[in-house]
């Protein structure tokens, strides 16, 4: 099972960039952790999520 921000999203492999686009993420405001490691931004387009992958997507909101 692939888990993204704690939600199960199936076990079929998916392209990360497709997931981000389908779910309306703003690429310039996020930090992604894949299986406990920070994912380099240059790898967003080529990363494919497989069964058992665990992804956390942090979206920053404005204010400081």
């Amino acid at each position: 099972m692939i888990r993204i921000n704690g939600q199960e999203v199936g076990n079929k492999q998916i392209k990360l960039s497709d997931y981000l686009e389908d779910n309306g993420y703003m690429i310039n405001r996020i930090v992604i952790e894949l299986n406990g490691n920070i994912l380099q931004r240059e790898k967003y387009d080529t990363t494919v999520l497989y069964d058992n992958d665990k992804v956390e997507i942090l979206t920053f909101v404005g204010g400081g």
């Binding site: 930090v31 920070i38 931004r41 956390e56 909101v61 204010g63 400081g64």
Partner: protein, 272 residues
Amino acid sequence: MVDIEIQLNGKAITTTAATLYELCNDCNDFNINRIVILNGFQTNENKSLKNGDSVFIIDKGVIPNKAALEDMLMARHTPYVHNKVRTARIAVLGLGGLGSSIAIMLARTGVGTLHLIDFDIVEPSNLNRQQYKIKHLGMSKTEALSQEISEINPYINIITDNVKLTEDNLLNYIKDDSIICEAFDNPDYKAMAVNTILENCIDKYVIASSGMAGLESSNTIKTQKLANKFYLCGDGVTKAQEGCGLMAPRVSICAGHMANMVLRIITEEFSV
């Protein structure tokens, strides 16, 4: 009588005094004219003294000379903590409501070197939550905050860079800083800074912020550890927008979370 070795007002001495009252030499004045601080904690009690204790006896209302002032400023710092914080070097990226408060809290705690970075000037709209005053209007935030800090604790090193940080220049500016506080306002800059540092610097700690606008509950603001050296403070969701502005209390709460996490890391407490 037994000789013990203690630190009195910052200097090593040998004394036969067994208690604080004996050390003060006249317990009648103990509460009235003096402040006595034992190992970073103010006390009125006649505590026993032991080897290695740190005692400060401060006469109330007396303007001290510079050397004595430095000792007195250090008096309330827990000795174990102070020795670590005085050698720390912390960067604060963005000197708005979060950054100006973080920097002042760390200065009060005696952090040895603060690296303050912002490109902006102080404006009237900043005064609702940022640590600036009317006299600072129009001044660069780096300069204004340096002034404020020097009036609170003149014995720390302040390094300022009046510059707009970008993907291309960020790493060069922070190369000598071990802990980085991301205190920007703009979410794109927040993500840029966090990604750039975490992608390139395995040795640096990053404490970032997200979600501290409005008048939601204070208790929704928390510190989370999201990766080995990456912490996030805030409620994660409440953004600054029309009808939900940034106000001093929640911004200060978030700043407090960030400054405390800095101190925890400095003292090697890496859990939240």
